[in-house]
């Protein structure tokens, strides 16, 4: 791990120190910061990995105006069910996660790729670099893909991920989350983010979540439990809509097709 200028060499900061830094930066919040601060020292790995110069305003041109197109040749519908990727069933709370992908004007992003990845119920990723002493689940890889339908709706069946420790500071734990990768109609709408679950006790302690200093914007990363999505003796349901920035006023029309 890289050391931080704010702590003595190689001594991991305490949660108290990180929380105090989070509190300071929260106090500096001004209305309008809807995105994370990319310069956010409580997240130690961000220190050397953010630009310090102002972003250059540009009008999107050419390829930037057109998102890549994905279709049924790219994504098998079975990839949206993370509980059936092996011969056996994964351990954990089975759940449906669904919602709509929209642009800033509320228009659905149709027939577009959504990718997710997550830890298993014990908080462990399949990734080789995950050193957490929690069991791997032989029946769970934690990766999924789907295409949105004609209303911009995505649907994944998965199990609820566990929180997991990381090495940002001493006794650091990430709130449970699912990583989401999203495309819009324009390439400039490309987004990778994380979905969280309501009421997680780790929110206040987590510098990645708190890097979004606007409380209303932070809330937009929370799924809501929706009992109408739950199924009797089968699964719980969560709803989470995603709104992408921008999108030009005359969205490209893709050929309509009926979803299987």
């Amino acid at each position: 791990m890289s050391t931080s200028p704010a702590s003595p060499a190689n001594a991991p900061a305490s949660q108290r120190t990180i929380s105090a830094e989070i509190e300071q930066l929260r106090a500096a919040w001004t209305d309008g910061d809807a995105q994370p601060l990319i310069d956010y020292p409580p997240y130690r790995s961000s220190v050397l990995r953010h630009p310090t110069k102002a972003l250059h305003p540009a009008d999107p041109e050419g390829a930037e105006l057109v998102a890549p197109v994905f279709g049924h040749s790219d994504v098998d519908p079975l990839e949206a069910d993370l509980t059936i990727q092996d011969r056996g069933e994964p351990i954990g709370e089975r759940m449906l996660v669904t919602g709509r992908v929209l642009d800033g004007e509320g228009r659905p992003v149709r027939h577009q790729l959504v990718e997710i990845w997550q830890a298993n119920a014990a908080g462990r990723y399949v990734h080789q670099r995950d050193q957490h002493h929690a069991p791997l689940d032989p029946h769970f890889t934690g990766t999924g893909r789907c295409l949105t339908d004609a209303d911009g709706v995505y649907r994944f069946v998965t199990i609820k991920p566990g929180p997991y420790p990381w090495r940002n500071h001493h006794n650091a734990w990430r709130p449970a989350h699912i990583h989401f990768s999203l495309f819009g109609t324009d390439f400039t709408q490309r987004l990778i983010t994380q979905m969280y679950f309501p009421g997680d006790p780790l929110f206040d302690l987590d510098p990645i979540y708190q890097s979004i200093t606007d409380p209303a914007a932070r809330d937009r990363l929370l799924a809501t439990y929706d009992h109408d999505l739950s199924e009797h003796e089968w699964q719980l349901g969560y709803r989470w809509d995603i709104v992408l920035t921008g999108g030009h006023s005359t969205p490209m029309e893709h050929p309509e097709e009926h979803d299987a």
Binding site: Y43, R49, W117
Partner: protein, 182 residues
């Protein structure tokens, strides 16, 4: 005015490598294709160290300047040019796409988006072809020369396009913001 507030970004984190990369994600064309060229470089942090856990994606026009809207980027059939690719950096921070030079009448570029562990929100930039100049693009003309040159790929000895990305520091890559972004 947008009606809906945008969903904020978050870092791609450390564990994307088993989820997002896939077979031939970096290969927009086969290396044997006429005009195939490597677009490659290294991603560096503010200390000049390579970033081994970044993910880059590119979007570009074809050789005639048309932006493809065909599917098939994930299960590539080796013939369709989809104009989109993905590449994670290796342990030395290097990435390499196999593609063709974008065409077009003004100043063609490859649009690039960068994700990395430690980077809390994605960054956009452009890799212009070596022939690009201030006179060929109003956007390039609007930039100071030393900023402009960092957006222009360098022709390497093998005829490839070299485009290093510096997330921070003296050589920091110019990153872009577009209208309508929060």
């Amino acid at each position: 005015m947008p009606e809906l507030d945008p969903t904020p970004g978050q870092t791609i984190g450390p564990f994307f490598a088993y989820a997002l990369p896939y077979d031939r994600d970096y290969e927009l064309v086969r290396p044997t294709t006429t005009g195939a060229v490597r677009l490659h470089g290294t991603v560096y942090d503010g200390a000049g160290s390579p970033v081994p856990d970044a993910l880059l994606e590119i979007r570009q026009a074809d050789g005639a300047g048309a932006v493809p809207t065909v599917e098939g980027s994930i299960r590539r059939d080796g013939t369709a040019f989809t104009g989109w690719g993905r590449c994670q950096t290796d342990s030395a921070g290097r990435y390499s796409f196999t593609t063709i030079a974008p065409g077009g009448d003004s100043a063609p570029f490859v649009a690039v988006v960068v994700f990395a562990r430690g980077l809390l929100h994605r960054l956009f930039t452009r890799a212009y072809l070596p022939e690009a100049s201030a006179s060929s693009s109003p956007f390039l003309a609007s930039l100071e020369p030393r900023i402009r040159e960092r957006l222009i790929a360098v022709r390497d000895d093998d005829g490839g396009l070299l485009f290093d990305i510096h997330l921070q520091g003296e050589l920091e890559t110019p990153f872009l913001t577009f209208p309508g972004e929060a």
